[in-house]
Symmetry: C2
Subunit: 211 residues, 2 copies
């Protein structure tokens, strides 16, 4: 059984193993490895705590499987887009489109990654992060070529990639405090974040327009 076989899903007709996984997924996302407790996971799954150990052996193993599943929900979309042969402009549009959609539906993904990556760096890097990460070489080359051809303003490709990801991710990660600073209630903030896709795309292309 691999991490990709066990993902969060609909709750009806669940096996005990799936019930545990779903409960753990929710609690690890909300409270992280240290904050989520085994008894709490058992309560949420509606099972006896000893079953956690029967099916997953230790808290760490359960956590690692959940964490891998979360990573697996986020990384392939980046990979598919960044590594594709689409023309640069189309690639940027699609990346922003897909990535913001993904994060709007699953804001826990970047939140979890950032938090746990910094709280448990060794465990994260050595046990959770997949061996194969998205490779940006095609994208970087495309940016270089576009700069050389004069179709975009001169810019360091790595900084451009980082800018694109920053603009997509950060607003969702910092949502609570940004909402307060901008004086928005929840529906207003929802509406505001709905606009991110077009705002980010426009901002990036404006920034890339040759002089």
């Amino acid at each position: 059984m691999r991490a990709t076989d066990m993902t969060p899903q609909d709750k009806s007709n669940d096996s005990t193993e799936q019930k545990i996984f779903d409960a753990a997924h929710e609690l690890f996302v909300q409270k992280g490895l240290d904050g989520a407790k085994m008894q709490e996971i058992a309560d949420r799954a509606g099972i006896n705590k000893a079953l956690l150990h029967y099916y997953y052996r230790t808290k760490d193993k359960l956590y690692e499987m959940v964490a891998k599943s979360i990573i697996h929900q986020g990384i392939p979309i980046i990979q598919k887009t960044i590594e594709s042969d689409l023309p640069l402009e189309e690639k940027i549009v699609k990346f922003v489109d897909f990535y913001i959609d993904l994060i709007r539906r699953n804001p826990f993904i970047p939140l979890f990654i950032i938090s746990e990556m910094n709280k448990h760096p060794e465990q994260f890097m050595e046990k959770i992060l997949p061996a194969r990460l998205p490779r940006p070489e095609i994208f970087l080359k495309q940016v270089e070529d576009a700069v050389a051809a004069g179709t975009i303003r001169p810019i360091n490709p790595q900084h451009l990639l980082l800018n694109i990801i920053s603009l997509c991710v950060f607003p969702f990660v910092a949502r609570p405090i940004m909402q307060m600073v901008l004086g928005m209630n929840k529906p207003e903030a929802d509406q505001f974040l709905k606009q991110r896709k077009t705002e980010v795309t426009e901002f990036i292309f404006a920034a890339l327009r040759p002089r």
Copy 2:
């Protein structure tokens, strides 16, 4: 005694109270409220655990004082710049300059805020976040006026503010994974992050240039 009276500082000739605060600051930053343990804090401070309670009464109170101190290290610089009467262009340059400097020296500030804000939302919002947050009204008005005057490309002021902050903060928050995706070692990543200030400023002004 207020949170502003107790900040992390040089370790020589410390009072016991300061030693505790410094140790707690380090450990809460590294591991968060749930991950940092009182005995661990006492060990790091080189004191007997009972003193934690003598000086700070409970873990929660110690945490809240440390958290307030961390917030206090980050927010005033935003406030001072955003709320100043500087012309818009100069305000953006100074904001990016000061803010990236602050985060480069203290990457724990946004990391702590994002992580703890999402792990303990009620405690964060009700006990830690100051009543007075930076007010963006002057900045937003300046952007509107510049758009109306045609000195910058039409853009929603709130999105612009969010874009600026995203570009400044996110690379430091996501450093470990971005470093791996971009295939950099630590010195290379340090050098790369050194360039953020000019890259971000250029990117923003390019994005704002009227058509």
